[in-house]
């Protein structure tokens, strides 16, 4: 995590507007949702995934970015409506585009795992 992000995540100094100061928290998303991906940073795993799916770009992963939860880097998984924290053992680059690609790769590995909570939900509630 860069110094700027640490300030943003941990300290109240990162709260910009009066409204944010008042309620003591950030208003908005935990990353720039409008940042369009730079495909030159794509990882081999992601390339394999999009080839398998028959796509020619990142498709839905364009909206996946590296954010944070508490003071840890994390990626939001829409299928569980929660943040999945990134293990400390993974060193993150200092570039948001590269970090986003890592977030996308980790999210795919998590979502496609048999340990994903959706597998239990699928077993419990699937009707047909």
């Amino acid at each position: 995590m860069s110094t700027n992000e640490e300030t943003f995540v941990v300290g109240a100094d990162g709260l910009d507007t009066d409204r944010e100061q008042e309620i003591g928290q950030h208003i908005g998303y935990r990353y720039d949702v409008n940042l369009v991906p730079d495909l030159k940073f794509i990882t081999p795993f992601l390339q394999k995934y999009i080839d398998k799916m028959g796509w020619k770009d990142l498709n839905w992963l364009e909206d996946v970015h590296m954010g944070y939860e508490g003071d840890q880097a994390a990626v939001f998984d829409r299928n569980i409506n929660g943040w999945v924290t990134i293990p400390d053992t993974i060193t993150l680059p200092d570039n948001q585009q590269e970090r986003d690609m890592i977030a996308r790769e980790l999210l795919i590995k998590f979502q496609m795992s048999e340990n994903h909570p959706m597998v239990d939900l699928n077993n419990a509630y699937r009707k047909f």
């Binding site: 208003i27 799916m53 364009e62 909206d63 829409r78 943040w83 048999e114 939900l121």
Partner: protein, 280 residues
């Protein structure tokens, strides 16, 4: 008096889980296997093809037949004679190449997560609503609320679309080759909308976030929708995205206008109502 039915989910203990106070979940392990598809999806082969003649079939039968072919491992399905039926091609949570040889009615290809769909005709209202991932390409025009509440993937209409395109859009990319109607991008929360032609009145009304690119004229901007600054990354992104679907901005990508949220309507916070009363 009605009672809760004990079923499989109760047996699995899912109803005993404490939900309160769990804002942080740590599930990720670096040792996960490298699967490329959902654990519950069908293993299909896109070199295997199948055809469905839908002339005498109900929408339910068409959807059931698509599913039956996927269960057999067929990954390339063509539906002939869809006869503009409503609600077909829905709920597909699988990788699949699906082609409709003619037009669909309303709510076509909704709730999908993964397939690549090609519709060789027009579509009615709310095509690909709540789409999660994949691609949907429509050769003709589309009705109103095109891509309502879309969350991901590429939704492409090569013709023109009706009003309220991408209403409540939460992600993904909507691409329109022609014009779009009034209130497009209404309550948009994130994602991208690329309109090659003109946009009707109240574009991006009450949008919270996301980006709208317009190649033609905008009749009128909605509340809290403001012009944004095109960057070199935007140009590169638009060029490659439109190239993917063989589309062009009439005046060139560089001349497209970008619109974003003015963020005057933002009021995100997760305080409880009682806490809000204390601070406000």
């Amino acid at each position: 008096m009605a009672t809760l039915k004990e079923d499989k989910s109760h047996e699995m203990g899912l109803h005993e889980e404490q939900l309160k106070g769990r804002t942080q979940q740590r599930f990720f392990s670096v040792d996960e296997n490298e699967n490329l598809t959902y654990f519950h999806s069908f293993d299909v082969d896109t070199s295997k093809s199948g055809t469905i003649d839908a002339l005498e079939m109900t929408p339910r039968e068409i959807n059931g037949e698509i599913r039956a072919l996927m269960e057999k491992g067929i990954g390339n399905i063509t539906v002939d004679n869809p006869m503009s039926r409503h609600g077909v091609g829905v709920g597909i949570l699988n990788r699949l190449n699906l082609t409709f040889s003619d037009s669909l009615g309303y709510f076509g290809c909704g709730l999908i997560d993964g397939p690549n769909v090609h519709i060789k005709g027009r579509v009615g209202w709310s095509c690909a609503e709540n789409m999660m991932a994949g691609t949907v390409v429509i050769d003709g025009n589309a009705g109103s609320t095109f891509g309502a509440a879309i969350r991901g993937g590429d939704l492409v209409c090569k013709g023109s679309v009706g009003a309220r395109t991408g209403i409540d859009q939460k992600g993904g990319t909507i691409i329109v080759g022609g014009k779009t109607g009034a209130f497009s991008g209404f309550m948009m929360q994130r994602g991208r909308m690329i309109i090659c032609g003109d946009a009707g009145m109240n574009l991006g009304d009450s949008m919270y976030d996301g980006t709208i690119y317009v190649g033609g004229e905008v009749e009128e901007l909605g509340v809290d929708c403001v012009p944004g600054e095109m960057t070199e990354l935007d140009v590169r992104y638009l060029t490659s995205k439109l190239d993917l679907y063989g589309m062009k901005a009439p005046k060139g990508v560089e001349k497209m206008q970008k619109y974003v949220s003015g963020k005057q309507l933002w009021n995100y916070d997760n305080l409880e109502p009682s806490e809000k009363k204390l601070v406000l």
